[in-house]
């Protein structure tokens, strides 16, 4: 399964953090720091895969990709395919791109939730995701706009 998704900038500041198995906040920060430590030492034009068993425990790998100043990182175990993860990341990024013209930042989580649920791949078509996200926002506007409910656990933490 997918263990986690992290988006951070090139300074190592996390922009989006989502773990699909429980991690304490301290542990999350520790992981992010160590992953950043590895990522910033990677040369360009090398593979996008890193064996992460020294960071995230046995049988874990991570796939990363840089988009502009952002690192996108997927952490997963051997039940996933590295190349497929790379493509999934592409889906995520494309979807973000499509949505970001007029969306609020918390919707990043909504988008992620439409693609990955509970560590399993849910949807790989970014068009579908965009549709779903739009529906959600419509629903929310329709029900009650005074209180926006964040879409995921991670949202609740900040709420």
């Amino acid at each position: 399964m997918i263990r986690g998704v992290i988006v951070m900038n090139d300074q190592g500041k996390p922009r989006l953090v989502k773990f699909y198995d429980y991690q304490t906040v301290e542990k999350q920060q520790e992981l992010i720091r160590r992953i950043y430590g590895v990522l910033c030492n990677r040369a360009e034009n090398v593979s996008n895969f890193i064996q992460a068993d020294s960071i995230c425990g046995p049988d874990t790998q991570l796939v990363y990709k840089t988009y502009a100043t952002l690192y996108f990182v997927f952490i997963f175990d051997s039940s996933e395919n590295e190349l497929a993860m790379l493509d999934l990341m592409q889906v995520f990024v494309e979807t973000l791109d499509k949505c970001f013209s007029n969306q609020l930042i918390w919707q990043v989580y909504t988008i992620l939730d439409e693609i990955i649920l509970g560590g399993q791949v849910l949807e790989t078509s970014s068009a579908e995701v965009v549709k779903a996200v739009e529906e959600i926002s419509k629903l929310e506007k329709a029900s009650n706009t005074t209180m926006l409910v964040p879409k995921s656990i991670s949202g609740w933490q900040s709420w």
């Binding site: 039940s79 497929a84 629903l139």
Partner: protein
């Protein structure tokens, strides 16, 4: 509304009513989006929601069914035991009309199959047909991704098939066609196409091999490896590593590509390649591969990976080493750069390997291995910052084999050892190893008849020798005052051992005996003749404590105590202070009348007491002590039923003749010691075996490792491992320390009239040198005192007792305790307890024992557990 539910959730989390979940689920009916949140509900609420969610599996809307499956997967993950009925639901949903729902079902099923593939073999047909449909594009277009039909579903299915087809001919055959089709159709220009292709390869490599598929997989791999993309190279190397199990020759086709990857700056790729190399190592390529690994290891900072690669190097070196020289050098490098990271067991393995050789019966090769080890260690020893584990190995090897080939002088080696101890003053373990090594070197020197250059009275030494000698002496002096009791003990032991004469030392510390086996004569048969003799003189047979009747209350009180203790394993309270005179004396009298004549100072007396005792009267010290001593031993390991009639009876009789003190104690003592030893050695043997096996596996194995080993190492199986020896000596150290110190103080006591102590010499241990010398012929080296013997610490009187022996005339009896004691010195030599015991218990007659031992050695055999009978016969 949503907010309301969430607030309720928080309320619920705080431990209130669960009914709200029904509402939550009701909401889920209305709004499928909210259903996902159920997956986030915590564990305790699962039962409340479960039935509703299961119901949703039959919902008309596929999106809801799909989410329900995912939610159930989460539930199942959280508590597999309570939700086992979900499995059948998953199976049903696999046949769902909607591919999305089916795809979602694959996730929980693949988890389940990972745990237990057997129960799902019936699904192979379903999986294969699903995969076929997917590959034939029977799914709606919306499932396509980059022109691939539902690639994530294909990947999942291929992974599942790989699990199900492993080692199952029927299942594998069902898969061949569809996997072959997919491989042909895969679009190798897109990422996702290659992902599916890679999954096909790993599926092919896990199911039973099919030539066509293997060929296709090989082609795909070479495409990967030839690609410019690092990602694809990575996948190619990984796939190669998988496929190599099935057809090792594949790697050779891709040698160049593999080497390219190895030299690539990309760390991930490099590591993957090392993993591949590790899998394809043979004796023909081990040198290259391990050298590469070490080079890489030296340059990385990641301790996790460094550790891993270091242990792989060690493993490969042990497995495939082409020559001793290379092996030693490789191990040196590994230890130098990662010594503190590798498991200490690796160091122990190395020591054992050097001691035992590579398992072939080629003594020559073994000694060459040792010589080259010594040489390289002497070269390396001066380097700063060597890891502790490595220094331990160095010290041990130098001590054991430093002077073995005569190339280096003892003073040279000892000088180096002293340097080590001095420059690592904060590392007690290293110092301990160094002192043990020093003692061995000195012991070997003395035994070989060379002059011991540490004793001050030896003059006309060459300058360098003098220096090394002084250095060593100051080191030993410093350590005798060390805060570490272990070091202190070692220092005293060293001093004690070197003051023995050559013959005794040769017996105590035989050369190159670290692999020798200990045999213990548990029945103490060597005492039989003595017992017989005593009976003839009118001694009473020994009555086991349990069988004694009409014993005085005092003793029954005591024995009660003993029993109680013996029921438990160790006794932690301090031994009671000896009551020098009356009360303790009574019981033994009643036990065996003759004991009256056999006063024995309680061995556990603290020094002062003992001194008075020895001064005032030995005969008064109390026969009870004899009994006490035996009991004390029983407390340790005691089967209360243990009985060795020999000691007590014989002692009592012999005591008549002589100064009883010595006798009785001496008798009780060997007895107890032997028993402890046997216990000890048995235990250590047990400890060894798994490790032994492991070593065996890594040494000879090659591809077919584990089974082969034991037979080839057969003759060595019984050798006790260095490892356990090293462990054991640590424990032992503390114990025998007191013994040693006793000895040291012995000369201070007013010697009994009977004592024939030699002229006191300059060193403080000199006084008791002579008694030993006198006894030299009497020594029975066979006594082994691998003394995990707390009893030993009770024996401050030994020395004074021995001192009496010479006069006793009952030489054969006397010999035992003495050698006992000697051996406990010996045990200080840090390597393995095992050393001395080789000759254990071969009989009361020293000459016999020695001859037999010599015979055994000549024959090149060591007593082994495999043919104990032979050796018992041989050795009497």
């Amino acid at each position: 509304m949503k907010r309301y539910i969430i607030c309720l959730l928080y309320v619920e989390m705080l431990g209130h009513d669960a009914s709200l979940y029904i509402h939550a689920v009701k909401m889920a009916h209305d709004d499928s989006l909210s259903l996902k949140r159920t997956g986030l509900i915590n564990e305790e609420t699962i039962p409340a929601v479960l039935p509703e969610v299961v119901e949703l599996l039959g919902h008309a809307k596929e999106a809801i069914r799909k989410n329900a499956v995912m939610a159930l997967h989460q539930f199942y993950e959280r508590s597999p035991s309570s939700d086992s009925h979900l499995v059948s639901n998953f199976r049903k949903r696999l046949c769902d009309n909607d591919p999305g729902v089916m795809g979602a079902t694959l996730c929980p099923l693949s988890d389940l199959i990972t745990i237990d593939a057997k129960s799902y073999k019936d699904l192979v047909i379903s999986f294969v047909s699903i995969l076929k449909q997917v590959a034939e594009r029977r799914l709606p277009k919306s499932y396509d991704y980059h022109q691939m039909p539902a690639p994530f579903i294909q990947i999942k299915l291929l992974k599942i098939l790989a699990l199900l087809g492993g080692g199952d001919k029927q299942a594998s055959e069902q898969m061949y066609t569809v996997v072959g089709d997919i491989m042909r159709k895969c679009d190798s220009t897109s990422n996702i196409g290659n992902a599916v292709l890679y999954e096909c390869i790993s599926c092919v490599s896990s199911i039973l091999p099919n030539p066509k598929l293997l060929e296709a997989a090989t082609d795909a791999i070479s495409k990967f490896l030839k690609s410019d993309s690092h990602n694809l190279k990575y996948m190619g190397i990984d796939a190669l590593g998988r496929l190599i199990k099935m057809s090792p020759e594949i790697a050779e086709q891709h040698q160049l590509a593999v080497i390219d990857c190895l030299e690539d700056p990309d760390d991930t790729l490099k590591r993957k390649t090392f993993e591949l190399l590790y899998k394809m190592t043979k004796s023909s390529n081990v040198e290259v591969i391990v050298d590469r690994m070490i080079d890489y290891m030296v340059n990385i900072n990641d301790n996790h990976y460094k550790t891993e690669i270091a242990s792989r190097c060690v493993e490969l070196a042990e497995q495939f080493a082409p020559s001793n020289q290379w092996f030693i050098q490789t191990m040196n490098k590994v230890f130098e750069h990662a010594g503190d990271l590798v498991n200490i067991k690796v160091a122990h393995n190395l020591m054992r390997l050097i001691a035992e050789g590579f398992g072939e019966d080629d003594e020559n090769a073994d000694s060459q291995l040792r010589s080259s080890a010594v040489e390289s260690y002497l070269r390396i020893i001066g380097e700063p910052k060597l890891p502790s584990a490595f220094l331990q190995v160095i010290c041990w090897v130098l001590g054991e084999y430093g002077t073995a080939d005569g190339k280096y002088s003892a003073s040279y080696i000892t000088g180096k050892l002293c340097d080590v101890a001095e420059s690592h003053s904060s590392d007690d373990t290293v110092k301990a190893y160094a002192v043990a090594a020093l003692m061995k070197i000195y012991a070997f020197e003395i035994a070989a008849g060379r002059k011991l250059d540490m004793l001050p009275e030896v003059e006309n030494l060459r300058i360098s020798k003098v220096i090394s000698l002084l250095q060593c002496q100051s080191l030993i002096e410093e350590l005798s005052a060390s805060h570490s009791t272990d070091l202190q003990q070692r220092a005293y032991e060293l001093q004690a051992v070197i003051s023995l004469d050559a013959h005794a030392i040769g017996s105590v510390m035989p050369l190159d005996a670290s692999c020798e086996d200990i045999e213990i004569d548990k029945s103490l048969s060597f005492l039989n003749s003595f017992v017989q003799q005593s009976f003839e003189k009118g001694a009473q047979p020994y009555i086991p404590e349990n069988d004694r009747s009409g014993v005085l209350d005092v003793s029954s009180l005591k024995s009660q105590d003993h029993h109680e203790v013996s029921a438990h394993s160790l006794r932690f309270e301090a031994y009671e202070l000896p009551k020098p005179v009356v009360p303790s004396r009574a019981p033994p009298v009643s036990l065996s009348p003759s004991t009256e004549l056999v006063p024995v100072p309680e061995p556990s007396y603290p020094k002062e007491v003992r001194q008075t005792a020895s001064v005032s009267s030995f005969s008064e010290a109390g026969p009870s002590e004899l009994k006490l001593r035996l009991d004390g031993v029983q407390k340790k390991w005691g089967k209360p039923t243990y009985s060795s009639p020999a000691p007590s009876t014989s002692s009592s009789s012999s005591q008549k003749t002589v100064n009883g003190v010595t006798q009785s104690d001496s008798m009780g003592n060997p007895n107890s010691k032997t028993r402890n030893t046997s216990y000890d050695s048995r235990r250590s043997q047990v400890e060894i075996s798994p490790e032994k096996q492991k070593l065996a596996a890594s040494l000879f194995g090659g591809a077919l490792k584990p089974e082969k080993r034991p037979s080839s190492t057969g003759h060595k199986v019984s050798k006790t491992s260095i490892n356990s020896g090293a462990k054991a000596h640590m424990e032992k150290g503390v114990i025998s320390a007191s013994e040693i110190s006793t000895e040291k103080t012995t000369p201070l006591q007013p010697p009994p009239d009977l004592l024939d102590l030699g002229e006191p010499s300059v060193t403080n241990m000199a006084p008791f040198v002579d008694p030993f010398k006198q006894l030299e012929g009497l020594l029975d080296p066979s006594q082994d005192a691998s003394a995990l013997d707390y009893g030993a610490s009770k024996s401050p009187d030994f020395m004074s007792l021995y001192a009496d022996m010479p006069t006793s005339g009952q030489t054969s009896t006397v010999a035992n305790p003495l050698s006992n004691n000697l051996e406990s010195f010996g045990s200080a030599n840090g390597e393995s307890t095992v050393v001395y015991p080789t000759q254990t218990n071969k009989g009361p007659n020293l000459r016999d024992a020695l001859e037999k031992d010599a015979l055994v050695r000549q024959m090149g055999v060591t007593p082994s557990t495999q043919n104990p009978n032979l050796f018992r016969d041989l050795l009497g």
